[in-house]
């Protein structure tokens, strides 16, 4: 990278977006820090690695396994099969998932909760190493959860910017290479312009800080399924949200070749009278993405948000019936884990079967990413919806 000679800006400098004066101050405080290029064309110390990481996650036939449930949420999962919410049980469950042989054929990244990032198998092997051996990128949830947004219409905002830079740096040291931050937008509550702006701005700030510390940010503004609105309304809101997100990402000088998106699919609200077919969902979702996502973004990894395992797979499959300008794949939690939990039931003798169940779902979604999935032969359990009104993650 050519280095740029920086001269002192004029006293009344109004650099584009005010970025330069901040940049100048930082450089004068840290004279040894050299940047590859002036910030606006988005180069940084980790540029190449970020691009490689994002590419690896967005590889054909693969997607993300999201197992970053907070301890409280993981507790709910364990409770559903009669297990106590202890560290041992959480470790046992994640071990089952992360040591599944051949998982890397279908999974390119795994999002972990902080506790899990530092855990090992009962045999003493770091989880992070298990993942690396399968060519699966370790990821880490870095947000600190949703809290009420004052002045809004009962909406939320996502916390987590304080100390984020040093957290990211620590996680990078521990082996994480991508991060995830989930904020939400509620259609029944508006959404208000305030909530949308805050969601987009928070994501943009998080993304810039992540990249600065070597982690590919997954950008997740989840438009909740709750509501009785029609699919056209979802399209409207999604277009607005993503327009704001991309503008603020650009303002924060985020490098698009080194991010991934985690959108919700464009569907009718959960309580809407008519369900939409996978083809309709694919049509609306792809229309939205084509209007909002620049081709520099390597991958779009959908969240399942309460859809059944089979629904989530069918919808993804419908989206991959012809080539897209970006990798279109999955980042599923419930839609990959539901059958696994029900098979395991917490019993060691069920581990093999449970791991096989995970592979079945992972493979199904892998085929869906390639546009080659068929729902014939799927178990009834996999078709059960998992929507919960007012679901807190």
């Amino acid at each position: 990278m050519a280095s740029m000679k920086l001269s002192a800006p004029p006293a009344t400098s109004q650099w584009i977006g005010g970025g330069r004066s901040t940049f100048e101050r930082r450089v004068s405080m840290l004279p040894m820090v050299r940047r590859g290029a002036v910030a606006p064309i988005r180069a940084g110390a980790y540029t190449d690695e970020l691009v490689q990481t994002a590419k690896s996650i967005a590889s054909p036939g693969r997607g993300i396994l999201a197992i970053d449930e907070s301890n409280a949420t993981c507790g709910k999962r364990l409770a559903s099969i009669g297990l106590d919410n202890t560290e041992t049980n959480r470790q046992a469950y994640r071990q089952l998932l992360l040591t599944t042989p051949g998982l890397g054929d279908y999974i390119s990244g795994a999002i972990l909760f902080e506790e899990t990032l530092y855990q090992s198998t009962t045999g003493g092997k770091k989880f992070v190493e298990c993942l690396r051996d399968e060519n699966i990128m370790p990821g880490i949830k870095v947000d600190k959860g949703l809290v009420p947004l004052p002045g809004s219409n009962n909406e939320s905002w996502c916390q987590g910017l304080d100390g984020l830079a040093s957290r990211c740096a620590e996680y990078y040291k521990q082996g994480a290479r991508f991060a995830k931050w989930r904020t939400v937008v509620s259609i029944p509550c508006g959404p208000s312009a305030l909530a949308v702006k805050e969601a987009a701005w928070g994501l943009a700030r998080y993304a810039a800080i992540s990249q600065d510390n070597g982690l590919v940010p997954i950008v997740e503004p989840e438009i909740l399924l709750d509501g009785d609105h029609a699919i056209e309304r979802t399209l409207e809101v999604a277009e607005k949200v993503w327009s704001e997100v991309f503008f603020y990402l650009a303002e924060n000088n985020v490098m698009f070749e080194g991010i991934l998106l985690k959108p919700s699919m464009v569907t009718p609200g959960a309580e809407h009278k008519a369900k939409a077919s996978p083809e309709t969902i694919a049509n609306y979702t792809l229309t939205m993405l084509k209007r909002r996502v620049p081709p520099a973004v390597p991958g779009i990894m959908f969240l399942s948000g309460g859809q059944s395992e089979v629904e989530a797979t069918l919808n993804l499959n419908a989206m991959n019936q012809s080539p897209n300008p970006w990798h279109v794949s999955f980042s599923y939690a419930r839609a990959l884990q539901n059958s696994v939990l029900k098979t395991w039931k917490g019993l060691p003798e069920n581990i093999d079967a449970a791991q096989k169940a995970l592979l079945v779902r992972a493979k199904a979604n892998s085929l869906a990413q390639l546009g080659r999935y068929s729902a014939d032969g799927e178990a009834e359990e996999a078709k059960k919806g998992m929507f919960q009104k007012g679901y807190t993650y």
């Binding site: 050519a2 740029m4 004029p10 009344t12 400098s13 109004q14 650099w15 584009i16 977006g17 290029a37 002036v38 606006p40 064309i41 988005r42 056209e232 399209l235 409207e236 277009e239 607005k240 327009s243 991309f246 503008f247 650009a250 303002e251 698009f256 070749e257 229309t287 939205m288 993405l289 084509k290 209007r291 909002r292 996502v293 620049p294 081709p295 520099a296 300008p325």
Partner: protein, 358 residues
């Protein structure tokens, strides 16, 4: 509301897609009366209507040239002119599958309180003007916003004002059946390097698309006319491949796939340079979901005008020159151009004019 789907939506989408046909591009022949006067003056030809008509007739009746064009941008006067045989120019174009377009802006004015930055005029009666132009056969429009690179330019004000102007213009066009070509030109004037131009171009395009989205513009029914990313006119030149990389990177970071085509302005590059750069972009092996083509004024007409010199006996030679440039640029849209095919010394002449007023 998401993107505005009005009564012309289907037609807009179809027109935009057609204009973006690979292998074709746009002839920008929409020089205002004042500007075309400068061209004519350069060959000692008087700036009267019959001469302006003669030049445009020369271009539009060049045998075979129209095969390489999907659209021609006209100035208002030209939209209503005819050939010497009495055939409306619009008909000449339509019969050859070339879509007539119309410049609808009324030039730039300075933004007070800035260092010579500008905004573009033309909103008054824009809606009804578009309707008139539609009736006359136009199906796309063009509006040029201008930004410059300086120590503190482009300012946030200039970017916001020009982006908003483009969005408003685009929406009014779509309401009245015209595909808006969105043109945020970042001038090459200056001694900045290619990285600086890239940075500015990316910031400007991000702001433009934000504004278009806020105004509910139907992106599938628009085209983008950006500058290529190059070093400043006072800086050392770089290879076409470098220009191609920076330009395509900037576009990949800012232009959603819904936009069917990107038609570059030539902005003072020589005919040959402009073609080489376009060619290099189309050779790049990276995913480009929109077509990359041309909307050239000077870079298609320079040699032609020099050969014509206003004399009837020169028309065939002038038309040859024009056809050669059309062919060359058509090949460039397919990444198949081999340098130097398109002409002679005139083709390599820089067309940069400092502080160029269009």
């Amino acid at each position: 509301m998401s993107a505005f789907i009005g009564k012309y939506a289907e037609e807009l989408i179809k027109t935009a897609k057609y204009i973006a046909t690979p292998g074709k591009g746009i002839l920008a022949a929409d020089e205002s009366t004042g500007t075309i006067g400068k061209r004519l003056a350069s060959i000692n030809v008087e700036n009267i209507e019959s001469n302006r008509q003669a030049l445009r007739q020369l271009l539009f009746t060049t045998p075979e040239a129209l095969t390489y064009l999907s659209g021609v941008i006209l100035f208002e006067e030209t939209l209503y002119q005819k050939t010497t045989d009495g055939k409306p120019f619009v008909d000449v174009l339509l019969e050859n599958n070339v879509i007539p377009g119309i410049k609808v802006d009324k030039g730039v004015v300075e933004l007070a309180g800035t260092n010579g930055e500008t905004t573009t005029q033309g909103f008054d009666s824009l809606g009804s003007r578009c309707q008139q132009y539609y009736k006359a056969g136009a199906r796309f429009a063009k509006w040029r916003a201008v930004l410059k690179i300086g120590v503190i330019e482009p300012s946030a004000l200039a970017i916001e004002e020009n982006a908003r102007g483009l969005a408003r213009y685009a929406m009014i066009c779509q309401e009245n059946g015209l595909v808006p070509i969105v043109e945020p030109e970042v001038l090459t004037d200056g001694n900045h390097d290619v990285k600086k131009c890239a940075a500015v171009t990316e910031v400007v395009l991000a702001a433009v698309y934000k504004a278009l989205n806020d105004h509910h513009v139907l992106l599938e029914g628009t085209l983008l006319k950006p500058n290529m990313v190059t070093p400043g006119s006072d800086s050392p030149k770089v290879a076409a491949e470098v220009i191609a990389e920076y330009t395509v990177t900037a576009l990949r970071r800012t232009v959603p796939p819904a936009v069917p085509g990107i038609v570059f302005l030539s902005g003072g590059q020589s005919e040959e340079e402009a073609t080489q750069n376009l060619n290099a972009m189309n050779k790049l092996e990276v995913l480009k979901p929109w077509t990359l083509s041309f909307s050239f004024g000077r870079a298609l007409q320079q040699s032609t005008i020099k050969k014509w010199c206003g004399k009837t006996e020169n028309v065939p030679a002038a038309q040859q020159a024009f056809l050669a440039r059309c062919k060359a640029n058509s090949k460039a849209t397919l990444g198949k151009y081999i340098g130097g095919e398109g002409g002679d010394a005139a083709a390599s002449e820089s067309l940069h004019v400092k502080g160029y007023k269009y």
